[in-house]
């Protein structure tokens, strides 16, 4: 069972996201970076599947040179190999990204054999495009379902569970296939000491790739209207309970 997981390096914002003066990017001067949350779970799911069925996990990212940090994070929790597709811009549009990633995956598969599964996050935390994984899967000619809240291997089939308004849906995708994972499918582990050492030693393969610029162009970022609230302090400590229940009565939620 060989699994490729595509991840994205994204800023880890706290209470507020600031934009650079030219409106072209998130101001990351005071921010750390992380693996986009859905993809963090995709890595964990891949590692769990390999622990159960054997094989190895390769993690791939298209991003700036610094994204090597996120690849090493993935290795520290169990991925064996890491591939960086370096770009000089901060981000590429979805069509270009998908084209470049699909081409790198095709090369990797030609050299090393097919990945049984290619995993993505449901959508990236920053650009929220909801499409790169779907575009890559189609280019690779394998079935793809997004939004997975459960993923098991049964023989030569990937059993995907996802949630809809109506209930839980089950999909059965013949391998090799592609799946977009959602947070909540598992609880990602923390790195072990052994994992941290492995992440320092791993050779990150750099593979240049190109892609044609697509038709979705960012003009600029803007902040949504600020929610200004004149917060009414109902009190301090347990003595405020009476004022709280008055409020609940007033709002009609306590009858």
């Amino acid at each position: 069972m060989n699994i490729l997981v595509c991840v994205k390096r994204v800023p880890a914002p706290g209470a507020r996201i600031n934009i650079t003066d030219d409106g072209q990017a998130v101001d990351t001067a005071f921010l750390g970076f992380t693996v986009s949350p859905h993809e963090e779970c995709a890595v964990e799911q891949a590692v769990q599947l390999v622990e159960k069925h054997g094989g190895e996990v390769t993690v791939l990212t298209l991003g700036p040179a610094e994204a090597e940090e996120q690849l090493r994070t993935a290795v520290s929790v169990g991925a064996a190999k890491a591939v960086l597709v370096p770009i000089t811009e901060s981000d590429w549009d979805p069509q270009r990204t998908a084209q470049a990633i699909a081409s790198v995956i095709t090369d990797l598969e030609n050299a090393n054999g097919k990945y049984d599964l290619v995993l993505f996050g449901n959508e990236s935390a920053d650009s929220c495009g909801y499409q790169v994984g779907i575009r890559v899967a189609l280019k690779l000619g394998r079935p793809m379902v997004n939004g997975a809240k459960g993923l098991d291997i049964e023989g030569s089939v990937a059993k995907v569970r996802r949630e809809s308004d109506a209930g839980q849906e089950i999909y059965m995708l013949p391998l090799p296939s592609a799946v977009g994972v959602k947070e909540g499918i598992n609880l990602p582990r923390y790195p072990t000491m052994k994992g941290r050492l492995a992440s320092k030693k791993v050779d990150v393969t750099r593979t240049e790739s190109t892609g044609s610029v697509g038709g979705l162009k960012m003009i600029q970022l803007q902040r949504p209207p600020e929610r200004v609230s004149n917060t009414q302090i109902l009190g301090t400590g347990p003595e405020a309970a009476s004022a709280v229940v008055d409020l609940l009565e007033e709002l009609g939620v306590f009858k």
């Binding site: 499409q131 089950i170 999909y171 609230s229 917060t231 301090t236």
Partner: protein
């Protein structure tokens, strides 16, 4: 020449998000001087043509194939792509839901067209000939992006809850498209479904009592459970709580959890990071209980109590019981 609205439905039951999409698509069509058309997937959705007509669709394209009895992202994407190919709309608008994004992404991949998801605004001077300027939500809505969709056919999804459904009845004609689906799209159909048990869910609860890192442990959620129970609500939590393993991810409110819109959101020991806030911001009222009066959630909430949630929450439950006698 048209604006095409993609109707989302589940086994023939229309998704409410589709009504906002029909309304937004009709407004866009009107400013472009063209007509609103709609597409439904599967013959079990044929009856929805009358709903589309209520919202101003002049033509409803009905994609038919024996296999289209349940949802399947690739088959739905291929079916809509074939209707798009056959009718050449200038703009295609889908729902800003999990299925909606997935279907539009499939159409985009199949037609090699750009797609802009979660749009909140469309350029009011767009007439169909130039690239389409949109505003779209990033970071789960905590940041907006002005973007341009440059293609002969512009594919977008409408961010949920941004356009209210407004009817504008017309008489719609139906056109059946018998689509061709090859074996490659047949794998990703729903194979089985466990229906949700009826009851109050996090997404629909009128009251949500939520806990963050400040709660401190899984056991310390008991008083929050009690308060939620007294108010007919449910318990939620922040991402820090799920990451600590104190509660299941199904209780998580936030960008990567559940979006909620209760009558009141009681946020206990939650700082209010962006990740959490975007899931809670649609709440009609917010009461923050926090030791830090400068906490982000306190400054954004309508009401706050400053102090230790471990003492305040039981005191509120006690007061409720006292008044109920």
């Amino acid at each position: 020449m048209s604006v095409l609205a993609v109707i989302e439905h589940d086994r023939g039951t229309i998704a409410t998000a589709s009504l906002g999409v029909l309304t937004a698509a009709r407004n866009l069509a009107a400013q472009m001087g063209t007509s609103l058309e709609a597409v439904t997937v599967g013959s079990n959705a044929d009856a929805l043509a009358s709903v589309a007509g209520q919202y101003g669709a002049t033509v409803v394209h009905q994609a038919h194939h024996d296999a289209l009895t349940d949802f399947g992202p690739e088959a739905w994407g291929e079916a809509v792509a074939q209707v798009v190919r056959a009718t050449s709309p200038q703009v295609v608008i889908g729902t800003g839901t999990e299925r909606g994004h997935e279907v539009i992404a499939q159409v985009a991949a199949r037609l090699d067209l750009p797609a802009s998801m979660n749009c909140t605004e469309f350029d009011s001077s767009f007439n169909g000939t130039q690239p389409l300027r949109v505003v779209r939500a990033r970071w789960g809505g905590s940041l907006l992006e002005q973007a341009e969709v440059d293609a002969t056919i512009k594919l977008v999804t409408l961010a949920n809850h941004t356009v209210d459904a407004v009817e504008a009845p017309t008489s719609a004609s139906n056109t059946v498209h018998n689509v061709n689906l090859d074996s490659s799209v047949m794998h990703s159909f729903v194979q089985d479904r466990v229906e949700r048990v009826a009851g109050v869910t996090l997404a629909t609860a009128p009251v949500v009592v939520s806990g963050g890192r400040g709660v401190g442990s899984a056991e310390a959620f008991a008083p929050l459970e009690e308060l939620a129970g007294l108010l007919g609500g449910v318990v939620g939590c922040s991402r820090a709580v799920t990451n600590n393993g104190w509660r299941n991810h199904t209780d998580q409110v936030g960008q990567t959890g559940t979006r909620i819109a209760p009558d009141i959101y009681i946020a206990c020991g939650i700082s209010g990071a962006i990740q959490h806030w975007v899931g809670a911001m649609a709440s009609k009222n917010i009461l923050a209980i926090n030791t830090d009066k400068e906490a982000n959630i306190v400054t954004k909430a309508g009401y706050a109590v400053i102090g230790d949630l471990h003492k305040i929450v039981p005191a509120i439950s006690e007061e409720i019981r006292r008044r109920r006698g």
